[in-house]
């Protein structure tokens, strides 16, 4: 029931301002135990999940969410994912079923954190997800790998914020 959990998370914040934010937020949320459990690989922009992209397509195709393109210049387009009115009604209907109530209980603990990630600086979020992806045992190693991958200095202020964010999510698992 990953489709429900994802729709519920998007509905909890109303809208997510880009697919990239959604990808990185779900990655960090999964590290803290969120049951979505999408498979991720390392991409130029940090962790990326084809499975999550397909789920977004599925919700979009079912008109639970709507994606609105936003031109940012230089050929860059950002896609806002917005919960639709029929989508909200579907969620309410589902949450009135026995199965819906069971699944709601499982996702509720992560709604607050998702809201926090939705307000986080997008670049810090991307760096945090990348560092968390690299992290096996040692955070300093993960930091160095991220700095190398993203061509940043080790003293970069955003990188420091990103490590704190990544540690918070990985530790809360």
């Amino acid at each position: 029931m990953k489709d429900y959990w994802l729709a519920k998370l998007i509905a909890s914040v109303g809208e997510v301002d880009s697919r990239k934010r959604l990808q990185k937020s779900i990655f960090l949320l999964q590290l803290s135990g969120c049951p979505l459990k999408c498979d991720y690989l390392l991409h130029y922009y940090g962790p990326y999940s084809f499975e999550l992209a397909a789920l977004v397509d599925q919700l979009n195709g079912a008109q639970i969410i709507e994606e609105k393109p936003e031109q940012l210049g230089q050929g860059v387009v950002r896609y806002r994912s917005i919960i639709t009115e029929p989508g909200k009604k579907s969620l309410t209907r589902f949450e009135n079923t026995k199965k819906g109530r069971q699944l709601l209980v499982q996702i509720e603990p992560f709604v607050g954190s998702f809201g926090d990630l939705n307000k986080e600086n997008a670049w810090v979020l991307e760096l945090a997800a990348t560092t968390a992806f690299y992290h096996q045992v040692n955070w300093n190693e993960a930091k160095a790998q991220t700095a190398h991958f993203k061509k940043l200095s080790l003293g970069d202020g955003n990188l420091k914020k990103a490590i704190d964010l990544a540690m918070r999510f990985k530790k809360s698992a």
């Binding site: 690989l41 390392l42 991409h43 599925q58 919700l59 994606e67 896609y79 589902f94």
Partner: protein, 442 residues
């Protein structure tokens, strides 16, 4: 020149230069790769298209052949991007990318495990013949091959995208091969042009970070358009065909039923054909020798025996598969959580008929299928040559890079590359088609 020639219906001949790549022939002769002769490329596709009985082995040879062609082409202008050992790793990865497939390819993956993970295990295992051949060639070759096939690694992304991307050599081979063998002719396209016009370009990402992208020039756009239409048609008509998918779902349920029985019934577990013990999980079941013998034939032999099983459900399901009969289906639009109430009613109905829904009612979302049409929407703002198809032309404004559907003249592609309507398929006993259809329509 000493050479080994393989006849192949797609390329006429696949040639290995033994002076240069004798180790590739050793790799092909490894038992782990020879096993792929007994794994059908299209699972139960022959239940719909009788001609599609071709194997993962011929496909693997085909991908290796395309990789060789591709490297010859790339070496002309981009030799500084590819080291000799990386070339060998790419050839080996092309040959070995499917070495971990279970019987009937994707159809039994839920029971026997993910084929990509198993391929990595086989290549890593110092006792496997594949590992020994690679290591004999170069000590670090097994790791380099695994880096190309693994999701979590440091191999150059553009090299990985040749094996696993939206326009990779794997797809270039299987689309045309599956089209040829199935007889579904619309899977053909100008493969030669796609391989021989490929370019490598550096793209700046997020300011400082640079990445090398596999791209194509504007002049290749029609060949790529043709490829995307072929992929779309093949998906609609072959890969997601309701009959094939219905019987693959049945195969999965048969094995699941057997797993469930074996948990409680030791005699049943003991009588399983040895390679099938893999489905029981656990360390003992992870024997490489058992996996080596786990092929389509063994699974079919076991299911043939289960037609006389004492277990009523296993017997019934097995007979339906062997006789290719008795599966109904229905498709509705929506996403799974929206249909929960209807599904519940179907389950209650089946239970009243004495049928356990776990084995007699299967839901299938199009997004969960292993093969999908290209969706330009999926990658969105994170487009790269791994998850999208990029073209490059210096004349184009901004960076010069464009995703294929954004290229002038490619507007037609919007019709087949947008987010598809969400659809759900349900498979169930055909004798209950009328009642279940009524319940699902609500």
């Amino acid at each position: 020149m000493a050479q080994k020639l393989f006849r192949d219906p797609l390329y006429d001949y696949i040639l290995i230069d033994l002076n240069k790549h004798d180790w590739l022939l050793d790799l092909i002769n490894c038992p782990e790769l020879q096993r792929l002769r007994y794994i059908t490329q299209l699972g139960l596709g022959q239940f719909t298209y009788p001609g599609s009985t071709h194997s993962r082995f011929s496909h693997s040879l085909g991908v290796m052949h395309l990789m060789k062609e591709c490297l010859i082409h790339l070496r002309q202008d981009y030799s500084n991007y590819i080291k000799p050992l990386e070339e060998e790793a790419l050839l080996a990865a092309a040959l070995l990318h499917d070495v971990g497939h279970s019987p009937f390819s994707h159809a039994t993956e839920a029971v026997f495990g993910d084929h990509e993970k198993r391929a990595l295990q086989i290549i890593q295992n110092p006792d496997s013949d594949v590992h020994k051949v690679l290591q004999k060639r170069a000590k670090t070759l097994p790791q380099k091959v695994n880096a190309l096939l693994a999701e979590r690694n440091d191999a150059p992304a553009w090299q990985k995208s040749l094996i696993s991307g939206q326009l990779d050599l794997d797809r270039l081979d299987f689309l045309r091969r599956d089209s040829l063998y199935s007889g579904a002719e619309y899977g053909n396209f100008d493969c030669f042009r796609i391989v021989h016009t490929m370019e490598l370009r550096e793209k700046r990402i997020e300011g400082k970070q640079k990445g090398i992208f596999v791209v194509w020039p504007d002049k290749s756009k029609f060949a790529i358009e043709e490829y995307l239409f072929s992929r779309f048609y093949m998906y609609q008509s072959v890969y997601f065909h309701h009959t094939t998918k219905a019987f693959e779902a049945l195969l999965d349920r048969i094995l699941t039923r057997a797993q469930d029985i074996a948990q409680d019934d030791k005699d049943f577990a003991r009588e399983l054909l040895p390679p099938l013990k893999l489905m029981m999980g656990g360390r003992e079941a992870e024997s490489p020798a058992d996996f080596q013998n786990l092929t389509d034939h063994v699974v079919l032999a076991q299911i043939t025996l289960w037609q006389n099983s004492k277990d009523r459900i296993l017997q019934d399901l097995s007979r339906r598969l062997v006789f290719r009969r008795g599966i109904g289906w229905m498709e509705i639009t929506g996403t799974p959580f929206e249909t929960t109430a209807k599904i519940e009613k179907v389950r209650v109905y089946l239970s009243k008929q004495g049928m356990e829904h776990k084995y007699y009612f299967v839901e299938h979302t199009s997004q969960a299928a292993p093969y999908k049409p290209y969706s330009s929407a999926s990658a969105r703002e994170e487009q790269t040559s791994v998850n999208s198809i990029m073209l490059f032309d210096q004349k184009w404004p901004d960076t010069g890079f464009r995703e294929i559907t954004e290229v002038p003249g490619m507007e037609r592609l919007k019709a087949i590359t947008g987010a598809p309507p969400a659809s759900l398929r349900y498979y169930f006993p055909k004798e209950h088609q009328q009642e279940i259809t009524k319940l699902l329509k609500g």
